[in-house]
Assembly symmetry: C2
Homo-oligomer: 411 residues x 2
């Protein structure tokens, strides 16, 4: 089995793949509006052009005052201040605070000139018309958000390389930034190879045929990673056809994924096709992971090529762990991304060989436990029955029942 | 402060809101293709119409045999079988296994008639042309995936109410299910109220004005929850205008969100507008959460109405916790959704009052710690600086430094 030998020769660990497989290509940038901004990756840091909130603003419903006029005030000896009007929302505070005066301001209202604090309405009462009692002192600055306290002009409102979250969109909106420069979503070509494959919708199965389960599902993971899957292509098990499809894909894509046929021969064809592309380099052929050992990672002119195992279950496990970070990076992402997880107790022993990372599908069970799902690696139903997966690290010889483990959740 | 009193009168806990605020409206269904299926919510269980893989299939590269012909085989006393040809990928196995015979099959190849196991190629060698040595016995069924082992016709391939994950899409593709009935994404109208508000792109700020930060950012969270935000609308602080906008929104939407003005008066206007809509019922006005106390939950003819606090930071916290599950349910989702999280040690004390749930923004710090970010609740920058949040439960009087806490991560 020379093929197996060669796979091991260039095998890497998952940790090595995640840290060292870094093809240089990044997508170009484009301008999008605020409505399309969530999840997109800014190409450069986005800098505030104006101050937020933009004016000194009350953060409570109450009375704008000079703080010193309230010093020593208490329930028994209130400070008496003369009410000199009110500020309306969304309007200038064109009143000026008189000596020993108070001006009513709503939360978010502009602070009148001369005031340096706002007393909450709860600590006041209108003693008689035109006069308020203040029963607690306020310090200067209390009850106020300064004009540039949330963001000053020139400050970074959103860094480069991090997908914009809802609160980042809120910040950009608040700053009046309605167009921004982000990376174009990586175009990902998915080539499914195998003489046994037919498209999912292509009529009844002939003898020995199976439907292509990977193009659409890997496409779903590409989208989840911020990429854009191109129309799926099924390529015959023929070295020339695969090489031609790969060369075309490299011209039109930011990432290329090859879903290999399931036999040893088909896996070798992926490697052969990559090797035949001028300028392409195989980074690893074989990963110390189960399932997913026959993974190939390569690059051509900085464009990553990911050769997935032919087994759909292995392919989805590997693409989630290795492929999605590659797509995120091609799209300008610089941050590590975490799958949702929870801590649970293993309901039974997980056997595993040291020297490889095991990805074990699990089902949540009861309030606190998690149960491994075993089954032939060819079964997709093991993956659809799973709520998430547990990683048994390279160095571990399995994990005992009762151990608390991190369960990474599918959504 | 009558308004505050009334808020407390109908206040609920977050747990009560999550379990009991269940307006009945669900979106209608539509047919989508497999390519659009990921993340969508099936309206009814999707049932397999054919078997998967559809034929008895080899799960290894090797030789199809009768298991009994290998019983007792070992390195020292191999079983000798006559090689009777090979099966090609994607083709029928039109050979029949002769007595004491073996037929070469690739991984995924069809099992020839008469065979009941496949010996891995590693445990064989071609002793002389036309004869193989088998050095390990196989049990019946070994090296084989049965025709309906992954999925039998009539089995549920994907349940109703659960957003389809990549592996579910793979299963549907493998079963040839290329069109499916899913819930339409809930249309969500976001009404931003406040005389101080202008649209993010609406020229320079006038005195006392601020830009609407919520429409686009709540819209981003709506999308994340599988909904479709409608064009944002800014409504003046005028009871009649808000009521009219709300009535129109209820006719055109599956969920309505009102971002209240920030003052006490503006909050009351939301409640008044809801109360004035015929058939609308306020479920709670006030939530035992900080930030986010002035949250209003209501429904009209089963359509949820969520009144968010005017403060953008509070509004985003509440919408993430309470609003996103409401949108998911309106779109037919029945599963609980978990935010990604990790366990970390608090770097300092978190003060909190018992009787309310505190959502504290935190920043990851070093390898194992998490640091709370304090700051006036009006500051959006506290939220943009955060990597996630920690929940201090209702019953807790704060959490001490050094405590291990679950950090829910923003993405």
């Amino acid at each position: 089995m020379a093929a197996t030998g060669r796979e091991f020769f260039t095998a890497k660990t998952v940790a090595e793949a995640l840290s060292d497989f870094r093809p240089a290509h990044r997508t170009r940038t484009e301008t999008v509006t605020l409505e399309e901004a969530a999840g997109r990756v800014p190409a450069t840091a986005i800098v505030a052009g104006e101050a937020l909130p933009g004016f000194d603003r009350s953060s409570v419903d109450g009375y704008a005052v000079r703080a010193q006029d309230t010093f020593g005030a208490s329930e028994s000896i209130p400070a008496y201040l003369s009410l000199a009007g009110g500020v309306a929302m969304g309007a200038a505070a064109d009143l000026e605070l008189p000596t020993h005066g108070a001006i009513a301001v709503p939360t978010g209202g502009a602070l009148p000139a001369g005031a340096d604090a706002v007393v909450m309405i709860e600590y006041t009462q209108e003693a008689m018309t035109g006069t308020i009692e203040v029963v607690r002192p306020v310090a200067p600055g209390e009850g106020i958000v300064r004009a540039d306290e949330d963001m000053a002009p020139g400050q970074v409102a959103a860094p480069a390389g991090m997908p914009l979250r809802a609160q980042d969109v809120a910040m950009l909106a608040a700053l009046g930034i309605t167009e921004l420069e982000v990376h174009v979503p990586p175009a990902v070509t998915i080539l499914a190879t195998g003489d046994e494959l037919i498209a999912p919708g292509a009529g009844p199965l002939g003898p020995g045929q199976i439907r292509d389960a990977l193009s659409s599902s890997v496409g779903a993971l590409v989208r989840e990673a911020g990429g854009r899957p191109r129309s799926p292509q099924i390529v015959r098990d023929d070295p020339g056809a695969l090489q031609a499809a790969l060369e075309r894909a490299l011209e039109e894509s930011d990432v290329v994924v090859i879903c290999a046929g399931s036999s040893v021969g088909a896996r070798d064809e992926t490697a052969a096709a990559v090797a035949a592309v001028s300028g392409a380099e195989v980074w690893c052929h074989g990963l110390a992971i189960k399932p997913g050992k026959p993974t190939l990672l390569a690059a051509s002119d900085g464009i990553p090529i990911i050769g997935l195992p032919g087994n759909p279950r292995s392919a989805l496990v590997v693409f989630r762990l290795i492929g999605m970070p590659v797509v995120r990076r091609a799209g300008g992402g610089t941050a590590e991304h975490r799958a949702p997880s929870m801590m649970r107790q293993l309901s039974r022993d997980l056997p595993s060989a040291a020297g490889r990372l095991d990805v074990v599908q699990v089902r949540l069970s009861g309030e606190a436990a998690v149960e491994p799902i075993f089954g032939p690696s060819a079964l997709l139903s093991v993956l659809t029955a799973a709520d998430g997966y547990v990683i048994v690290p390279d160095e571990a010889n399995g994990l005992p029942a009762g151990e608390t483990v991190e369960v990474f959740l599918y959504r």
